[in-house]
Assembly symmetry: C2
Homo-oligomer: 192 residues x 2
DNA sequence: ATCAACAACGAACATTTGTTAGTTTGATAG
DNA sequence: CTATCAAACTAACAAATGTTCGTTGTTGAT
């Protein structure tokens, strides 16, 4: 049974890479099977359907997001500290699990019916919590008085392309990346 | 002949909307035809193929980008002024022609072979010019000394989601949007 | 040695896809 | 009225897609 979970995980991991590279619609089950090293039909011993793969990847990410938000909310410290921590976490997640995050960012729209609604709800929940953090910071005088939604999306989307662009050993270190992104966004939001 | 160009334009516009909504792979020619108000086969009197539609949308955007960059480069003023102008232009393009920009941002990977290379080259050219602008600003002491590539992608991707999120009349005005995004990014990049 | 469970396979399926061919319609110019 | 020509239609195509079925090894416990 250990082996079964293992093969399933391989399929999921490989799917994340392929979906990121060619998109959900652009990746056939035969493509994926080729990458995994078996026939397409064989994969159905480990997964239920192509949709299930997408669901797993998307909700794995959204669950992680929400869990991390809850953790940061309970942290001691100023709103600026919390935002900093969340931002740092986002960047690192991109560096560590970028393929899955990319799929959740780009291919969630191919989720089916109820799962789609579920995912959108999860995303909205995360965004609401994140926006509240910014609003609190503005109310406390820590942040520049901008529209919280605008700040939220500016920050979230700024982080998104780390994964599409960053390649280790290509002139920029991971630490430099983290520092510079955070410098721009946190100073941008800081009052004066 | 006027009418022919018109119908073609309708198809292209509707395709941009659908591709943005459901992705290139998720949109069938029959879907598109339904939206346009004719049979799928009839569209081939106006367009050459589904790929041609994608190519048109992508290169229309990349050409606009490059033209605008050239214009800004010739502008008088500091690097900060130029960056500000380019940023403002980006935001407005998102508000005016967001569907096409979305397609160029998300579905360019489905371009075929030589067109794909061509598009990547165009994008690289734009990024290089944009990065040079930032580097000049840093060298001139206008901007905080961050890695230019990191700054570039932070800015470019921050702008990307305007289109996915912004809906007129939903609490935030276009002007507020523009002001706040620019405030965060320009202050973030500004020295001190 | 036997049995059961699992995991891989080849073949086939029903659909959907982009696209082509041939035909009909409808407006316009002579 | 008729010839013309673009633009729409119906029908069909071959290819690709996700998935199912029945079979065949393979493994581990009894």
């Amino acid at each position: 049974m250990n082996k079964k979970l293992n093969k399933r995980q391989i399929i999921l991991d490989e799917a994340a890479k392929l979906f990121k590279l060619k998109g959900f619609g652009g990746t056939s089950m035969r493509d994926l099977a080729g990458e995994v090293g078996m026939e397409a039909a064989s994969m159905y011993n480990h997964i239920k359907s192509k949709d299930e793969i997408l669901e797993h990847l998307c909700f794995h990410v959204s669950n992680t997001y929400i869990a991390q938000l809850a953790e940061v909310e309970q942290m001691p410290g100023s709103n600026g500290d919390k935002l900093k921590e969340l931002l740092r976490w986002h960047i690192n997640l991109m560096l560590e699990d970028g393929a899955a995050v990319s799929v959740a960012n780009n291919d969630w729209k191919y989720l089916t019916d109820s799962k789609l609604e579920q995912f959108k709800a999860a995303r909205k929940q995360y965004e609401k919590g994140f926006a509240a953090l910014i609003e609190n910071g503005i109310a406390a005088g820590e942040f520049r008085p901008v529209n919280a939604s605008v700040a939220l999306f500016t920050i979230l989307s700024a982080v998104r392309w780390v994964e599409l662009w960053y390649r280790p050993g290509r002139g920029v270190t991971a630490q430099e990346l983290e520092e510079d992104i955070m410098a721009i966004l946190l100073n941008g939001l800081a009052k004066n």
